[in-house]
Amino acid sequence: MKRQIMIASLFLAIILTCLVIFLNTEEHDYYTEVSFEDQGINYQGMVRNNKFEGEGKLTFSNGDDYRGAFVDGRFEGEGVFIQHQGWDYVGSFSKGTFNGEGVLTTEDGKIFAGRFENGVFEVDEN
């Protein structure tokens, strides 16, 4: 009987310890600097669940650069994208592309300011 109580106590101790760990391992956002050399990607910013989440800066080995908001590892929210050949975009992103209000300035200084829908500039008919 004494042995059984000891075994039951051991089991309960394992269960409770694991329960405490489980309840305290909720994903927390944290700041990190990480390089993925194979893909030529460098990231400085917030991370959650191993993916970019929140504000961050992503630079590519070809010179492309994104600074702004991420959700689940993708461009989502307000951000600035500077392309290495000289054009840039400042504004709203969603699902990784231009979505919402933004300003795109081409290599030769031409400005597209207004609304973008899934990467397509919506021409104002008025």
Binding site: C18, F36, L104
Partner: protein, 606 residues
């Protein structure tokens, strides 16, 4: 009191689950096997509580917890310790999130962990080794709370005047009412929540929404228990033909469950509206008919094989999944199934006939040698290396598999390429004779996404748009969106098939018919010989070939044939995604280039 033929209910539940895991294309609704377990557990636990109250005048909740702990925990610990050494046979990726998996399995919270992670058995990538302990978690959560509820009810019923028989009647009545309320609440929660979902894991793994099978079982136990059954039930048992009728009802319920196992799917709303409820009600039918058979002929003996299988069923359920996940990566399906079943039975026998009795303080005889609980210390010494191995593997486990990481980063790169494409789209360019750009648009799933960088580097003027879990339905939307934005290129490659839909014919025809004039269309025949939905994947590939025969602007890139001839490109992968293998990338690109060349000689869509 052992009720004969209840063993068949446990065996039926286990068989349905095994069929679902081993042959998901044939028994895609076999997951209802766990609902047999749930309903049966609800019935058994509640009926035993009622009997205990009737016999003793109280319910010893502490003793119930102790008995459950000694029955449930040793096989669970053994599953984790004995199965993990087999992970040395497969890639490191199989250990992804191992610490979280072990912690949640050992604390009976796997269902909550899987809700957080959106995991399920049909997850596309390497499944969690201990995902199946979600049902154990739900069961233990039910035991803990239900024992308290019934314990409180029993205390309240003691205050009623009258005989213990009357007090037991009050207890059963109160259990009936509470079970009814909880079953309805849980079922309504499942229906309402599932109506708003397309990914059903949160409702399937939910402690609330998926608890009604337990309460259907407890409701049944409050009416027709184990020792205590209504007079009407006893009178029925005296009828001449009742034996045949009971066998008939039991058989019909089993057939009904088999039909559900064939027809339901994890992703169908019908499963959550009706399927799980029907499975629970059919289990109720099995319980009643088995109970009647026992009442009719209590002296009849049950075949020993049934008793044996029922005894090891819990162990087999626990051991089979991690072993199967590992073995299917190394061997063919039939070899993996055979090895899984054999080892699961051996481990379960060891657990049920040796470890559990020893821990419970009983002497046992193994190979004519008597083992006493005091010899446990030698057993503990044997377990030490396994415990050491567990901690070692936990320290080595990655947070994200290589495949997941590669796909996610490819996705990031793809987003940047899309930005460039969007930029180019601002100033319309002249393309070919038609008003769309030259080159190749490749629309694919995670297989294509994994090979994206290599494809874009080696196929001229190509743009690859891949997405994890993409099926034909979604590929159609991407194709039409690209077409409307005028960025769909001259050659359109559809590399979809490893997430097959049952309506793939309709979806494929939509792609063929709604593609704008002037394009060439190439279908990549998908490859998947790694079990799971392989038959459906093959059927979809065969259908692509029929389309190519019917429409002259459709060309086939037969990746399935090439991939099958080169198993080496899948070494240390999940058997589907070759993207991490350079040779695989080269081979796929070469095959696709050959198909593009063939398409060049074919007519365009008129």
């Amino acid at each position: 009191m052992r009720i004969k033929w209840f063993s068949l209910i446990r065996i039926s539940g286990l068989l349905l689950v095994l069929l679902y895991h081993f042959y998901p294309e044939s028994y895609r609704g076999g997951f209802v096997g766990v609902d047999l377990f749930f309903t049966f557990s609800g019935y058994l636990v509640t009926a035993l509580f009622c009997d205990e109250f009737y016999d003793k005048g109280y319910i010893n909740v502490g003793s119930f917890y102790r008995r459950r702990l000694f029955r449930i925990y040793p096989p669970l610990l053994l599953t984790i310790l004995l199965c993990l050494p087999f992970t040395y046979l497969v890639s490191h990726d199989y250990l992804t999130e191992l610490p979280q998996q072990v912690v949640s399995a050992l604390s009976f919270t796997t269902n909550l962990f899987e809700i957080q992670n959106g995991g399920n058995y049909e997850a596309q990538f390497i499944p969690h080794l201990f995902v199946h302990t979600w049902s154990l978690a739900l069961e233990v959560q039910f035991y803990v709370l239900w024992a308290i509820v019934v314990g409180v009810l029993a205390k309240l019923c003691r205050h009623f005047s009258g005989t213990i028989k009357n007090q037991t009647t009050y207890l059963r009545l109160s259990i009936f009412l509470i079970s009814l309320i909880l079953a309805i609440t849980s079922y309504v929660t499942m229906v309402v929540r599932s109506s708003r979902l397309t990914e059903f894991s949160p409702v399937y793994f939910s402690s609330i929404a998926h608890s009604f099978p337990f309460f259907i079982g407890s409701l049944l136990a409050s009416i027709n228990g184990i020792k205590q059954v209504p007079q009407r039930f006893k009178r029925k048992a005296q009828q001449q033909q009742i034996k045949g009728k009971s066998v008939g009802i039991f058989t019909c319920c089993v057939i009904g469950l088999l039909i559900l196992a064939k027809q339901l799917t994890f992703t169908s709303q019908l499963t959550y509206y009706l399927g799980i409820l029907l499975a629970s009600l059919l289990t109720g039918g099995m319980i009643l008919s088995a109970r009647m058979l026992h009442e009719k002929n209590p002296e009849a003996s049950e075949p020993k094989v049934f008793v044996f299988l029922a005894n090891i069923s819990y162990g087999v359920y626990l051991f089979h999944w991690p072993l199967y996940v590992i073995f299917t990566n190394r061997w063919s399906l039939s070899q993996a199934v055979l090895a899984t079943i054999s080892l699961s039975i051996v481990f379960s026998m060891g657990s049920f006939y040796i470890v559990e009795p020893l821990l419970a303080g009983k002497d046992i005889v193994v190979l004519k040698k008597k083992l006493t609980p005091s010899q446990l210390k030698y057993g503990i010494l044997l377990l030490l290396p396994l415990v050491g191995n567990l901690f070692f593997l936990i320290s080595q486990a990655p947070q994200m598999s290589t495949l997941e990481k590669d796909l996610w980063l490819s996705n990031v790169q793809q987003d940047v390429d899309r930005l460039q494409m969007a930029r180019e789209g601002l100033e319309q360019k002249e393309a070919s004779d038609y008003t769309f750009p030259k080159g190749t648009s490749i629309i694919g799933d995670s297989v294509i996404l994994g090979a994206r960088d290599y494809l874009m580097e080696n196929i001229p003027d190509s743009f690859v748009d891949g997405e994890v879990s993409r099926n034909l339905d979604r590929a159609y939307e991407v194709m039409i969106a690209n077409q409307e934005e005028n960025v769909l290129r001259e050659y359109v490659v559809i590399g979809i098939g490893n997430n097959p839909q049952y309506d793939y014919e309709e979806q494929a025809v939509k792609i063929v018919e709604d593609l704008a004039a002037g394009h060439h269309l190439i279908f990549v025949v998908p490859y998947d010989d790694s079990s799971k939905l392989s038959e459906l994947v093959k059927e979809q590939g065969e259908y692509y070939k029929k389309l190519a025969q019917k429409y002259d602007y459709v060309t086939i890139c037969d990746w399935a044939v090439v991939a099958r001839a080169h198993p080496e490109i899948y070494e240390d992968t999940d058997g589907i995604h070759f993207g991490s293998n350079q040779e695989g990338n080269e081979l796929f690109t070469k095959t696709l280039l050959a198909a593009l060349q063939e398409a060049e000689g074919q007519p365009r869509k008129e």
